[in-house]
């Protein structure tokens, strides 16, 4: 009898190439690029924040996994979650603060609900919540970059109270900031050297011949040099990496689409009302150019682990995530409107798979033979 070293396996016989390694490996690759740029811009403080946050995730996961699953854990998974967390941190958060917030985020967000298969809120968001509620303004102090720029720091950001206070103030006093540019934590009127230089060149070479003028602030935001989170500040890089993620199909891009659509339309429609009382005049591009919104749209809302599985649920999740973000934007939460919107949608997102799902095969009367 001819025998081979073959094993009989149940169905299916061939698997699709995508596995957890390719998913998280792709994410890690993109996030390393984003945070690498952050480290280049912000130097040692950025590096220490990066190291603290990532180590917090890795060590906490290793420790808890050993106790809970007794099998170990997926390093790439932890690394991706940790990098998402540090991408949202101000570069000067520091080693210890980032470490403890990261460790707390993964323990509370991931492991208290039974690991990746049970969590309903992103551990990175839990880490951010910990920082915003238990530290005094850790998320409100942003560094100016050590290269490309001088010493600019937004006074609104430096002087702003902790996020928890901002939330309280919003509900008690109503919106405290009104202009979209201020709302995302930057001033469109602020002049940066790189912004000025590059803008002047672009205007002369490209825009002015077409009768268009590129105003100040956009270039700085595009490059992420205007006092932003470590990895989520540069619109150009976030956009590039997001396209890579969509192409590699490692996120639910339908959620990103609906989220960004709602946010852009919302800003366009209502953005200028609080300032000049004019509808349909909001500055969408400037708002998006901060990078943080794009980062939230592609990395937080569309994350495989948290976004709903079914089409209807994904559309609902994206639309309502966008609406919550707009509430925070116009409520003056500033640069973290996107992540805070994600925290809010997480609270109801967990039930979307159960209630927003297609009719099972053969159960639709309309389609019955």
């Amino acid at each position: 009898m001819v025998k081979l070293a073959l094993q009989a396996h149940p169905s299916p016989q061939v698997f699709q190439p995508r596995n957890t390694r390719t998913i998280y490996g792709t994410l890690v690759l993109g996030l390393v690029l984003l945070n690498g740029w952050g480290v280049v811009l912000y130097g040692l403080p950025g590096l220490l924040t990066l190291a603290g946050g990532v180590l917090g995730f890795l060590l906490a996961d290793a420790f808890v996994a050993r106790i809970v699953t007794k099998k170990g854990y997926d390093v790439l998974q932890s690394l991706a979650l940790g990098l998402i967390f540090v991408s949202l941190l101000p570069p000067n958060t520091g080693l210890f603060l980032a470490f403890f917030a990261g460790a707390g985020g993964t323990i509370l967000g991931r492991w208290t609900f039974g690991g990746m298969g049970g969590m309903w809120i992103h551990p990175a968001l839990v880490g951010l919540l910990l920082l915003s509620f238990f530290t005094s303004g850790a998320l409100d102090r942003f560094l100016s970059p050590v290269i490309l720029e001088g010493t600019w720091v937004s006074p609104e950001i430096l002087d702003s109270p902790p996020l928890a206070n901002q939330l309280t103030r919003y509900f008690v006093q109503g919106p405290v900031l009104s202009r979209p540019a201020e709302i995302i934590g930057q001033s469109p009127g602020a002049q940066f050297s790189v912004d000025q230089g590059l803008r002047s060149w672009l205007n002369t070479q490209i825009f002015h011949p077409f009768g268009v003028n590129l105003p100040g602030g956009y270039i700085a935001s595009f490059l992420g040099v205007g006092g932003t989170p470590l990895g989520a500040g540069s619109m150009a890089l976030v956009l590039l990496v997001s396209i890579f993620l969509v192409g590699r199909q490692v996120i639910h891009s339908r959620v990103s689409f609906w989220y960004l659509f709602v946010v852009i339309v919302g800003i366009y429609v209502y953005g200028d009302v609080p300032v000049n009382g004019q509808w349909f005049r909001g500055d969408m591009l400037f708002f998006l150019s901060s990078g943080t919104m794009l980062f939230s749209g592609f990395f937080l809302y569309a994350d495989f682990s948290l976004a709903p599985a079914f089409k209807k649920g994904q559309i609902f999740y994206g639309i309502f995530g966008g609406l919550f973000t707009l509430i925070f934007v116009f409520g003056g939460i500033g640069i973290y409107s996107g992540p805070f919107g994600a925290v809010t949608i997480s609270l109801i997102g967990v039930i979307t798979n159960r209630y927003l799902r297609p009719k099972l095969y053969g159960k639709s009367r309309r389609l019955a033979l």
Partner: protein
């Protein structure tokens, strides 16, 4: 205007496969086996009653096992002498009896002119009996009971009969059906006419995909005057060839829960079955051979092969050049629902539409990991189920909850397990649970 291909309502995937497609799709006649092992049982059926004993001389096509209501007739694929009747493990069936025939003597059919019978003199009942006695089954679908389907259709109260021919393969690696529809035009026409004779007024629907388009169009042109037929382009999403999904794509409707295709007046079949019907009725030839795809990255020369039943797999692989790589898995059928084999002396059976000889890099098999809640299983499920949720329920022992959530609708198509990045054995756990419930 070119209509876009139709597809089923929910889920499905376009499989990303590394195996190159067979380029040479001519049918290659395999060498005759020196000995054939003919199983007396086919998946889904009871064993036939053996009517030969060791030492008996058998002719090509002679009956080896008689059919009953729940079993199929089995015939000798080659002439010769019965060497032994022994029990062996048949993949997908388990331990069963088989007849070993040593090739000897002359062929009664092979290489001789074949007389066409005037099958129109037969009554529909006689045609059904003949299909039963010649051992015709549904040759390339999961549900094998073709004659039973036809009988149910005869007794159906449906006002209109629809016969859907899925002229494409269940898996992009296989090219059996598209080859048959292209290269066996006359038998296809004959097969359709026989079914048209059985069910006068029946509507035929020829479903094809982009790969079988040319053959399907030629067939359509040939038969459109003799039977009422329409042609429908369908997508190459998996599992488009599944009965329920094909029905959904062709009609835009779904089979309500608790009803059968026959009750609603539908029969779904394939070109390889039409070929068997034609051979049984018009040529009086039992099912003793079949056409199949033999492919995979470990093979030197993948081919479409016509071979006698009972030929062992090792001999069929030899028809495809030598192995270029160490095979990691040999599968009978398609890459999703096929049955793996561990021994290459496994015989070719009626329901084997393909053999996949796969190397390690084509399989992407990995150890199971923790669920990451990616939801890919749910978004790909053609039944609209949430496999991750069902799996958790079964894991916690809440089987009744899982059935309330629709576990009985699972067709075990294998998509959820195949696409799962954590390689969680979803399909097999669902299949096991359904099997347990059936008892």
């Amino acid at each position: 205007m070119i209509a876009s291909p139709r597809r089923f309502r929910l889920g499905g995937i376009v499989p990303a496969l590394r195996t190159p497609l067979i380029q040479d799709t001519r049918v290659w006649n395999a060498s005759l086996p020196a000995a054939a092992l003919v199983p007396l049982q086919v998946r889904d059926f009871e064993p036939a009653v053996c009517v030969v004993k060791p030492g008996d001389r058998v002719k090509e096509g002679m009956i080896l096992g008689t059919a009953s209501d729940r079993s199929l007739a089995v015939h000798a694929p080659i002439p010769g002498i019965v060497r032994e009747i022994r029990r062996f493990d048949l993949p997908g069936v388990g331990e069963t009896e088989g007849v070993i025939i040593d090739f000897q003597g002359e062929f009664d059919r092979l290489g001789r002119p074949q007389n066409l019978l005037d099958w129109k003199t037969l009554s529909p009942g006689q045609i059904l009996s003949k299909l039963q006695s010649t051992g015709v089954i549904e040759m390339s679908r999961r549900r094998l009971g073709f004659v039973d389907s036809l009988r149910s259709l005869v007794s159906s109260s449906a006002t209109r009969i629809h016969i859907i021919i899925g002229a494409f393969d269940s898996d992009p690696l296989l090219r059996t059906e598209e080859t048959i529809v292209r290269d066996f035009l006359e038998p296809m026409v004959g097969g359709l006419q026989i079914l048209g004779y059985l069910f006068p007024g029946a509507e035929f629907h020829l479903a094809y995909n982009w790969r079988s388009r040319a053959g399907a169009h030629t067939l359509f042109s040939r038969v459109k005057k003799s039977v009422k037929i329409s042609r429908i382009s369908v997508s190459d999403y998996y599992p488009q060839a599944d009965d329920l999904m094909l029905l959904s794509a062709v009609t835009g409707k779904e089979l309500p829960e608790g009803t059968s295709l026959a009750q609603k007046g539908y029969c779904i079949t394939s070109p390889s079955t039409l070929l068997a019907v034609y051979q049984a009725i018009a040529l009086n030839q039992p099912v003793i051979e079949r056409i199949l795809t033999v492919t995979g990255g470990a093979l030197g020369q993948p081919r479409i092969i016509k071979a006698r039943l009972g030929t062992n797999i090792a001999e069929l692989l030899r028809e495809c050049g030598r192995l270029t790589k160490e095979p990691a898995k040999v599968v009978l059928g398609d890459s999703f629902q096929g049955i793996p084999v561990t021994q290459l002396d496994t015989p070719l059976t009626k329901d084997t539409s393909g053999i996949l000889v796969l190397e390690e890099s084509e399989i992407h098999e990995e150890p199971t990991k923790e669920c990451i809640q990616c939801g890919l299983c749910a978004s790909s499920c053609p039944a609209g189920l949430d496999p991750m949720r069902l799996y958790k329920m079964l894991d916690l022992g809440h089987s009744s909850h899982a059935f309330r959530e629709g576990l009985d609708l699972c067709t075990t198509c294998g998509i959820c397990s195949s696409i799962c990045p954590s390689r969680i054995p979803l399909t097999s756990s669902f299949a096991r649970e359904k099997e347990n419930i059936r008892g």
